[in-house]
């Protein structure tokens, strides 16, 4: 019988013991963090659709490090830096998640697929109730997306990386992924993880911001629901075609996002049920699942040891906080413009975390006054927020790529 070495059998343990102490500690910390994400996702504290696959991917990849050769360690999940054709062919045949990463993640397809799904779930009719008011709120709710940009530059980030992290303020995670892939490829993993992590927390944090900035009397302001016009499918489709074409014409670099979102809307309004069910179900949830899993798998110890990650964590929360404040200021602006008939809580829905922030707005209004129904306007502001975020993403990418 050959001599058996204990550590030869359990290579994950062997690579942990052989690694530098900082790397070993970071691996253990990320395994624990991944398990915590799964727990908080299952419990419902964080968004389960993203956090369960992401947390599990994070803990698995940091546990499953093995010796690839006498001098090199790695995993059988994926190699994010393989770009040379021969190296890539090897990686595609060895790493089980490499095909999904190479053919859907690194080219932004997964973000566009999620945008298809968001489009199918979005009723643009809400925006047509009061397009100018919704758009004014959405513009204010981008305060974090623009203000964080010079702050990040002041903290030492180059312009492209500053723009990528500032996009967290749009509260639109697929958009953040797409922009960071184009602007700051080296940082897209931590930036996207920061975005998803904070967006999960936004659902818990924004109600406090609303209560802090809007008095109960105004939170419970009842709006006139009789004035909601009836909008036909033809009008919605015409709007989607015109807007998508115009925006793609202006910002070709962001045209995949525009196409994804507006095609989703057109499919929804066309009423082709098999397409609606396919895109709103398997495509959206499949893309979300693999996005979460791949983000988790990409979050290896070396990623968190990048000193920029702490900076990204600070800038990400700053961006979301500023956007929330901006949205509520926008709500107040429209409140004054409308002769005090518009509920300012709707402002928070301009932060385009569709439909989460719209639900937050409705919940807060309802808690203040059980007769306050603001969801249609809040959804309109949220849809406007998606469009405004895509415009800002297009400008950033066009200017700084």
């Amino acid at each position: 019988m050959p001599e058996i070495e204990f550590l030869q059998i359990f290579q994950g343990l062997a690579t942990l013991l052989a690694a530098e102490p900082v790397i070993a500690l970071a691996r253990v910390a990320l395994i624990c963090l991944g398990i915590a994400f799964v727990y908080l996702g299952v419990k419902g504290t964080l968004e389960p659709l993203i956090m369960i696959p992401m947390g599990f991917g994070m803990s698995s990849v940091n546990a499953g490090v093995l010796a690839l050769s006498a001098t090199k360690t790695g995993t059988l999940f994926l190699d994010p830096i393989a770009s040379d054709p021969a190296q890539l062919m090897d990686a595609l045949q060895i790493n089980f998640l490499q095909p999904i990463y190479t053919f859907s993640f690194s080219n932004g397809l997964i973000a566009v697929l999620i945008f298809f799904g968001i489009g199918v779930l979005s009723d643009i009719g809400y925006m047509l109730i009061s397009p100018m008011r919704c758009m004014i709120i959405a513009i204010f709710a981008e305060l974090g997306t623009v203000l964080t940009f010079p702050i990040a530059v002041a903290l030492g980030l180059p312009l492209n990386e500053a723009a990528a992290i500032a996009m967290v303020g749009s509260a639109d995670a697929p958009m953040v992924l797409y922009t960071s892939l184009l602007l700051a490829r080296d940082l897209f993993v931590p930036i996207t993880i920061v975005a998803y992590l904070y967006l999960s927390l936004a659902y818990a944090g924004y109600p406090y911001l609303v209560r802090l900035m809007v008095p109960k009397r105004l939170r419970g302001l009842v709006m006139e629901t009789k004035s909601i016009p009836n909008i036909s499918k033809g009008e919605k489709i015409t709007f989607a075609v015109i807007t998508s074409t115009l925006l793609s014409f202006l910002f070709p670099v962001a045209s995949p996002l525009f196409m994804g979102f507006f095609l989703g809307i057109i499919i929804r309004e066309s009423g082709v049920k098999p397409f609606i069910e396919f895109i709103g179900g398997p495509v959206l949830y499949g893309a979300t699942f693999f996005l979460g899993l791949l983000l988790g798998v990409l979050f290896e110890a070396s990623t968190i040891l990048d000193p920029k990650v702490i900076l990204l964590l600070i800038l990400g929360i700053t961006a979301l906080l500023l956007s929330g404040i901006g949205g509520i200021i926008g709500g107040y602006v429209v409140y004054w413009m409308s002769g005090k008939t518009f509920n300012p809580v709707i402002g928070i829905a301009g932060v385009s975390c569709l439909p989460t922030t719209a639900k937050v707005a409705q919940k807060e209004a309802r808690a203040a006054n059980k007769f306050a129904i603001i969801l249609p306007w809040a959804m309109g502001a949220s849809v406007s927020g998606v469009i405004t975020s895509a415009i800002i993403a297009g400008i950033y990418v066009s200017l700084l790529r």
Partner: protein, 69 residues
């Protein structure tokens, strides 16, 4: 410091451009909606105008047939 000042200027430009484009999108929507509503109103008015003479003709036929009986 110069880089930060440059970023601040760029921020104002980006925010301004985004605001203008967003308002153009909202304006397109408003114009589109107004045009469709106007078209609907015209169609309703046209239908009403076509129904009125038809009703008058029917009334006239009825009177004629009663007269001939």
């Amino acid at each position: 410091m110069e880089a930060v000042w440059g970023a601040v200027k760029l921020m104002f430009f980006i925010y301004g451009l985004a605001a203008v484009l967003s308002l153009i999108v909202a304006w397109i929507l408003k114009i589109l909606f107004a045009a469709v509503q106007a078209q609907k109103a015209r169609a309703v008015a046209r239908n009403a105008a076509m129904v009125a003479p038809a009703a008058e003709d029917a009334e006239g036929d009825k009177t004629a047939s009663q007269g001939s009986a």
